[in-house]
Subunit: 340 residues, 3 copies
C-alpha cells in the first residue's frame, strides 16, 4: 500500500484499508511519541498551512505534528495573497500551486462557510489546488468534510470500544447553541463511522437537513456493511441503546443568504430549541454511551457540564488524536517526497 503523494480531501476517496493504515500508524506514533522511530520523517522539510479561516486547535495540532516529525509547518493566512477571480485580478491557483510544490512537501488548507459564497465552494477550491499541486494536499476542514477529525474520532472509538465497531450505534444529534457551526465535522462523522460499520441514527429538528449527497453516501456505506441508518426528529428517541453520542450544533441549509453566510439569522433560529441538549437524563437511555465532540464544546447548549466532563466523555482523547492522525497522514503521504 503506497500512499506517497496522495491527497486527503475526503475519507470517502480512500479505501477502508488505507484509512485503517492511517489509524494504526497513528496508534503506534502515540505509543512512541518523540522517539527517534518517527522524528526524522519530515526532517528539514516544510509543510505549508493555508488558513482561510483562523483556528486554534487545528493550527496547534498540525504545527506540532510537523515539529514532532522533524519538519516545520508554516502558518499562512491567504488574506495577503490575491487570487484571480471572475471579478478581480490576481494569481491563478495553477501558478500558486506550482510554486508551493517547489518549496514544500505538503499543503494543508482550511476554508469554511463564511469565506465562500455557496456551499461546496470551499471543497472545490481545495480540489483545485490539489489538481495543480505535485505535493499532497490535506483538507484541514472545509465546508463539506473534515477527514482528520473523522479519523481522530474513529481512533478514539477503537480505543474505548475495541477495534470492531460493527453493530455499535452512533447517535449523531443536533445540539442547541449560538455558534451556527459548519457541517464538516458532522458530515465527516456520518461517512467515516458508516464506513467502519456502525449503525447510525441522525437526529435533528426539522429544518436542519444536511447535504443530501452526504446522506446518500452514508446510506450507501451502511448498506454495504449491513448496518442500520435512520433519521429522527425527536430529541430523545435516538438515545435508546446508543453506544456513542455525538451532540453538536450545526447551521441550517438556509445559512447562505444570497451568497452570504448569515450567522445572526442562524443563531436566532437555533436558540429556539433549548431542549436539544445532551444531558445525564437522556444519557441514561443509552447503552452507557461514550460522549464525543470535535471541540470547542459549547457547554450548557450542546451538552451539560456533567456529561462533557463525565467519565464517559472522551473529548480530550479525541482532540489529542488529531495530532497523531495528522502525523500519520503526513508521514504516509509526504515522508519520502524529495522535491528538487
Amino acid at each position: 500500500m503506497d500512499l506517497i503523494g496522495r491527497d486527503l480531501i475526503c475519507t470517502q476517496d480512500w479505501s477502508i484499508e488505507e484509512l485503517i493504515r492511517v489509524i494504526e500508524l497513528a496508534e503506534d506514533m502515540q505509543k512512541h511519541r518523540y522517539s527517534n522511530k518517527y522524528t526524522s520523517l519530515l526532517r528539514f522539510k516544510t509543510f505549508l498551512m493555508f488558513f482561510y479561516n483562523p483556528s486554534v486547535r487545528t493550527r496547534q495540532s498540525f504545527e506540532a505534528a510537523a515539529t514532532e516529525l522533524g519538519g516545520h509547518a508554516q502558518f499562512l493566512e491567504p488574506k495577503s495573497m490575491r487570487l484571480k477571480t471572475e471579478k478581480s485580478t490576481g494569481e491563478t491557483i495553477e501558478d500558486a500551486a506550482n510554486v508551493m510544490s517547489r518549496y514544500a512537501v505538503g499543503l494543508g488548507i482550511r476554508i469554511l462557510e463564511d469565506k465562500i459564497s455557496a456551499y461546496g465552494d470551499g471543497d472545490k477550491l481545495i480540489r483545485e489546488y490539489a489538481k495543480y499541486c505535485t505535493i499532497p494536499v490535506i483538507n484541514m476542514a472545509d465546508d463539506k468534510y473534515h477527514p482528520c477529525q473523522g479519523l481522530a474520532d474513529v481512533m478514539g472509538l477503537r480505543k474505548h470500544l475495541g477495534k470492531n465497531l460493527k453493530g455499535k450505534k452512533l447517535l449523531q444529534i443536533w445540539g442547541n447553541g449560538a455558534l451556527a457551526r459548519s457541517w464538516c465535522s458532522v458530515q465527516e462523522s456520518l461517512i467515516i463511522n458508516s464506513r467502519f460499520g456502525m449503525d447510525i441514527t441522525l437526529a435533528y429538528p426539522d429544518g436542519y437537513e444536511l447535504d443530501p449527497e452526504v446522506i446518500e453516501m452514508t446510506k450507501y456505506n451502511c448498506a454495504k456493511n449491513n448496518a442500520k441508518f435512520e433519521i429522527v426528529h425527536n430529541v430523545k428517541e435516538g438515545y435508546n441503546g446508543a453506544d456513542v453520542v455525538y451532540s453538536r450544533n450545526w447551521m441550517s441549509p438556509d445559512a447562505y443568504d444570497s451568497g452570504k453566510f448569515n450567522k445572526a439569522k442562524e443563531i436566532e433560529k437555533a436558540m429556539q430549541y433549548t431542549n436539544w441538549i445532551c444531558d445525564e437524563e437522556k444519557m441514561r437511555l443509552t447503552n452507557n454511551a461514550l460522549f464525543i465532540h470535535p471541540m470547542p464544546v459549547d457547554r450548557g447548549n450542546e451538552v451539560t457540564d456533567d456529561v462533557a466532563s463525565g467519565k464517559r466523555s472522551i473529548i480530550y482523547d479525541i482532540a489529542e488524536n488529531r495530532l497523531h492522525i495528522q502525523k500519520s497522514v503526513m508521514a504516509l503521504t509526504m515522508a519520502n517526497l524529495i522535491k528538487s
Copy 2:
C-alpha cells in the same frame, strides 16, 4: 531541586534557591550557546505562546529560546479563539487548557492592561490556565508581573556588580513619557531585587502609586534581608548613592476608567512631568550607577540618549538575558516532560 512541571507566574511564588538555579543555568547557557550541551532539551517538542498583546522582543526571545533548545515555539494570537465569558458563548479555559496540555510541553501567556477590564484580571486569567493545564504555564508579562524580565535584570546586575547584591541600592524611578506603560516590569523589579537583598528607593510623582500588595511584598522582602525600603516623591533625592538606576514610565492607578484602559488620558497626565527624566546631571549624584531598563526605551522622555547609550547602560545585555533566562526556565520546567 526539581522544577519539572512548575508554573512561573510570579517570582515571589518561587524560593530564592530556585531563582538562583534559573540564573546560574542561564549564565552557563550563555557561555555554551548553540553547543550540544543544551540543544536537545526540547527536541521535537512544542511550546505554545499565547499573545493576547502583541510583542516584538518577548516573541523573538521566547521563539529563539525554543529553537536553541531544539524545539519549536508556536506564535498564537488568541483573538481567533472564542473563550466563554459571562456575556458570550465560547470554549471554557478548562477545555482549552486540557487540549493544549496534550499537544505541547509548555504554555506561555502574555496579557496586559488594555486587554482586560480591571487590574489583576490578566494575572487571574494566567492562573486559571495554570489550574487546568497539566503542563507548565509561563507568564510572558501580565498586568501585575513579568518574571522573565525580573530574572534577566538580576542576571545583568550579577554580571556587572558581582553575585552579592546585598547592600547595593536600586533607584526605581518613574519616567516621563507618552507610553502609559504597564506596571509589570517595574513591580517585578521591586519584588525580585528586594528578594536578592538590594536596598530599594521607589520614586514617583504623587498620583503614580503602584499596587499596594506589591509594595507590601517588597517591604517584607527588604525586612527579611535587613535592607532599606523607601518611597520618595522628589525627582533627584533617590539618585544619591544609587548603584542602579531604573527609570521607566508607568501608568497611574486611574488608568482604568469604568472597565476600560484609557490611554489618552494617561498620556496627557504623564506629559506634565517633563523633569522626570534620567540624565547625566542626575546620574552624577549616584555611586557611578548602572542604567537599566526593560526596553523599548523612550529616549528623550524616560532617559536621555547620553545615559541610555552611555558606558554604564547595560540595557542590551539585559535584553539578551531574556533569551538565556527563558531557555533556562523552559529547560528546568519542561525538559523531561513527555506527554503521551
Copy 3:
C-alpha cells in the same frame, strides 16, 4: 572570499565574483537538497524576517530556506512594533537593531512603496537597520531593489541559456495590468543582468520611467561589459532578436501623491495600454526567447496564458531558485556567526 557578516541590500554593492559564488553554491544546494551537506549550517539558529509588507512567496521561500539549513525563521510583522519617528514616540532603530543582533544570526526586511512616504525611504530604512545591526541584513524586497529575485533570475538564465550570458539580449518590457507594481524586481533585473554582460532593451510607454540612478547604473554596467543598452517606447520593437523576455507591470513615477502611494490612480492609467501584453505573436519576433517573470503573474494583462504556460516559460524554475539563492546567501553570510 569571505562573505560572513555581509549585508545584501543591493547586488550592485557586491562584486561579480561574490554574486557568482552565491549562484554556484545555490546550484549545488539544489542538487543536494535535504542532504546533510547543508542541513546543519544554521542549526538551532534564528533568522528574523520583518515583513512591513505581507508576502506569500517571499515568506514561504525564506522560511523554508532557514528550515532546510537546520535553523528557524521567525515571521514578524512590525505593525506591532512602535518605532520612533519625527511625529511619534517609540523605539529607535538603533535599539531595535542592537537587541535583534543578540537574538538572531540574520535579519531580513521587506518594505515596499505603500508603506513609505517617498521613493527611496524603504531602502533607506533597511540601510539604517544594517548600520546598527551586528548581524547581516538581507533585503527581502524594498522600493528600489530585490537582490534575491535578481540572483534567482540569473540562476535560471544560466541553467537554460548556459553560464555565459554575454551577448544574450534581455527585453525588459512594461506590461499592462491593474496591480501598480513596485519597481524593485524590474530595477534589480536591469542592474544584475547588465552585470552579467547581457544586452538590455528597456521598453515602456511614455510616462513609465524608472529611477534615473538605476538607469545610470545599468548603462555603466553595460559599458563595462561592452554590451548594448537601449530604451524604446514601441511595444514590438524590442522583441526582435531577444533571448529573454521579461514582461512585467510597474507603476509610474507619479505614483506618490503628496507622500501617499495612490494605487487607484495608477491602475486607471495603466489600464489604457492594453496592447502592452506579451503574446505568442510578439514572441515569434524573438530568438526563441525564454519568458521570465518574478511572479505573481497577472495573466491576460502582462502576458497571455499561452506564453506564461508555454514551453519557453521558466517562471516556476525561477520561483524555485528563490529558495536556493536565499539558502546560499544565508549560508555564506551567517553560517559561522555565533552570537554570545
